[in-house]
């Protein structure tokens, strides 16, 4: 049985269609990265899965529960880690966890809090108020709060957005531990590296739809081939190189100060400048080609 099953789901906000006929199936035990630019509909999809948004059309099933009618039962079995920090800042670390253990009807609140503290590596800080914690500790606590009832499914909504690289790495380690335990994870992100490192499968979402899905290596192979050539230089040179590559049928995308010519292993002689820097194709190439957005 799939942990999450969405068929033809539509969600509109006035004239804007945030989710546009979305089909998505997440098998149990995998980590699926929902990768898309800002405004792709990822957060709305997450809210639909918790019953905090109601679909205009389509069918949603989460852990065997039909949504939105059985959203409360589904929420009892899933954990949610939000994009924004919504901890109670004046309350202690352990009270933040205990409150949610009660909300999730955990029978032994004390044991659940201890386990969550261990997971977040915050046992020594349990009696400190949240506003005394560092940014990284707060994010770890937020993750532990979503796991305090040992859910079967966890929704991570942009878990590392706005964090510095060190804290991001800390969180990736924690999420990696969850993966190894077999917890089903749906993680929305617009960070390519995050999806590449953590997800068993990646679904690329844009304009409310999944436009491609597969294991990262499969997506790269399917859409970007084996190699990408990056060409650097002044704008006139880049424009000329782009024109030449495209005339040979190659896909070209902007890459900061350079252009990236995708699938360069198949390029004919003269299609790519000799001084181009050749590297292995990446998920970033796929993301930009498919969504037309610059990657982060």
């Amino acid at each position: 049985m799939a942990a999450i099953q969405l068929r033809g789901v539509v969600k509109r906000f006035g004239p804007i269609t945030a989710v546009d006929g979305l089909d998505l199936e997440v098998p149990e035990g995998i980590c699926l990265g929902l990768l898309g630019p800002n405004g792709a509909g990822k957060s709305t999809t997450m809210r639909l899965l918790t019953g905090q948004a109601l679909p205009d059309a389509g069918e949603l099933h989460v852990l065997g529960h039909e949504l939105p009618a059985e959203a409360k039962s589904a929420r009892a079995e899933m954990g949610v880690v939000p994009q924004l920090d919504n901890l109670d800042v004046d309350v202690t670390v352990e009270d933040n966890l205990a409150i949610f253990a009660r909300l999730y009807r955990v029978p032994d609140v004390g044991t659940a809090v201890d386990k969550a503290l261990d997971l977040a590596r915050l046992r020594e800080r349990r009696r400190d108020a949240v506003d005394e914690l560092s940014g990284g500790m707060r994010r770890r606590l937020l993750l532990a709060r979503g796991l305090v009832h040992e859910p079967k499914l966890i929704l991570l909504d942009e878990p590392t957005v706005g964090l510095d690289p060190q804290i991001r790495t800390e969180l990736w380690t924690l999420i990696g531990e969850l993966r190894s335990r077999g917890t089903t994870i749906l993680m929305s992100t617009h960070y390519i590296e995050e999806a590449e490192r953590l997800a068993d499968e990646v679904a690329v979402m844009t304009k409310g739809k999944i436009i491609s899905r597969g294991r990262p290596v499969e997506l790269i192979s399917e859409h970007a081939g084996a190699q990408t050539a990056e060409v650097y230089g002044p704008p006139e040179r880049l424009a000329e190189a782009r024109k030449t590559a495209e005339s040979h049928g190659l896909s070209v995308r902007p890459a900061g100060p350079a252009i990236a010519i995708v699938g360069s292993e198949n390029a004919a002689n003269g299609a790519i400048p000799d001084d181009a820097v050749v590297r292995a194709a990446s998920l970033e190439d796929v993301f930009v080609l498919l969504t037309g957005e610059e990657a982060e």
Binding site: K11, T50, Q52, D88, I99, L103
Partner: protein, 255 residues
């Protein structure tokens, strides 16, 4: 899962309790000090110069019993308005709670119950202060926490509904000026409403705070048969604002 589960309501209230433990001292201090200041200013000040007694009741006791209603509205409607707005818009607290197995009805019910309990307790403080100023204790006063609790539930529902209706926090100024201040002034706290024009007296009967003031004075000086209707009116007010608050919050919190 069924509606209005005690575990969900208790969980949300436990969050309020955990937060309350961090600020209870300040709240308690102001709840005790305010009635003392009011009684000194209005009770002792006015009774020494302008008013000696109202309907046979010493003015300080008249004001002291009336101030229970003041304490209730200011410890229920205002925290419900501002607290709900801040938790929703600035702290994203409700997003976290509604991601757990709690629905909007349980969330609103828990918030109202918490405010009702807190306000029911703090509402009694002016009465205790008035006793310290010379009011004779009476058995009927034991019912005052219940009267305060039910009235506070109603005003908590009103506050939550307002928080779910305004677009910006500044708009609470309109609610305070147009609703709360008139209700507070025409509640029979500082002067009896019998002196007001007949039309105003009729409209004032709709004011839940006036009914609370009459019930508190009933508890202190003797109940009347009509007090049962007054209590029923307060219970109806709480029921009505509860349903409106749930509906408004559902529209606000669920996309």
């Amino acid at each position: 899962m069924r509606r209005l589960e005690p575990a969900a309501i208790g969980g949300v209230m436990s969050r309020e309790l955990a937060n309350f433990r961090t600020y209870w001292k300040g709240t308690t201090f102001s709840s005790v000090l305010e009635p003392i200041v009011y009684l000194l200013a209005f009770g002792l000040g006015l009774s020494a110069t302008l008013v000696d007694e109202v309907n046979g009741v010493p003015y300080i006791e008249f004001v002291g019993t009336g101030m229970v209603a003041t304490a209730v509205i200011f410890s229920s409607a205002l925290p419900a308005m501002f607290g709900t707005f801040v938790k929703h818009r600035f702290q994203n607290t409700y997003d976290a709670i509604l991601a757990a197995p709690v629905d909007v009805e349980e969330l609103v019910t828990a918030e109202m119950l918490w405010i009702g309990l807190r306000s029911g307790t703090y509402g009694c403080v002016p009465l205790l202060v008035t006793i310290a100023f010379g009011l004779d204790p009476a058995w009927g006063m034991l019912l005052v926490p219940i009267f305060c609790f039910v009235t506070a539930l109603g005003f908590a529902g009103f506050g939550v509904a307002m928080a779910a209706s305004v677009a910006k926090i500044d708009q609470f100024n309109y609610v305070t000026a147009l609703c709360i201040t008139p209700l507070f002034l025409v509640a029979g706290t500082f002067f009896p409403i019998d002196g007001l024009p007949h039309g105003v007296q009729v409209v004032a009967q709709l004011n839940p705070l006036l009914q609370l003031v009459e019930l508190v004075r009933g508890g202190a000086f003797g109940f009347e048969a009509v007090d049962i209707l007054r209590f029923a009116y307060l219970a109806g007010f709480a029921l009505l604002t509860w349903r409106i608050a749930v509906s408004r919050m559902h529209n606000r919190l669920i996309d």
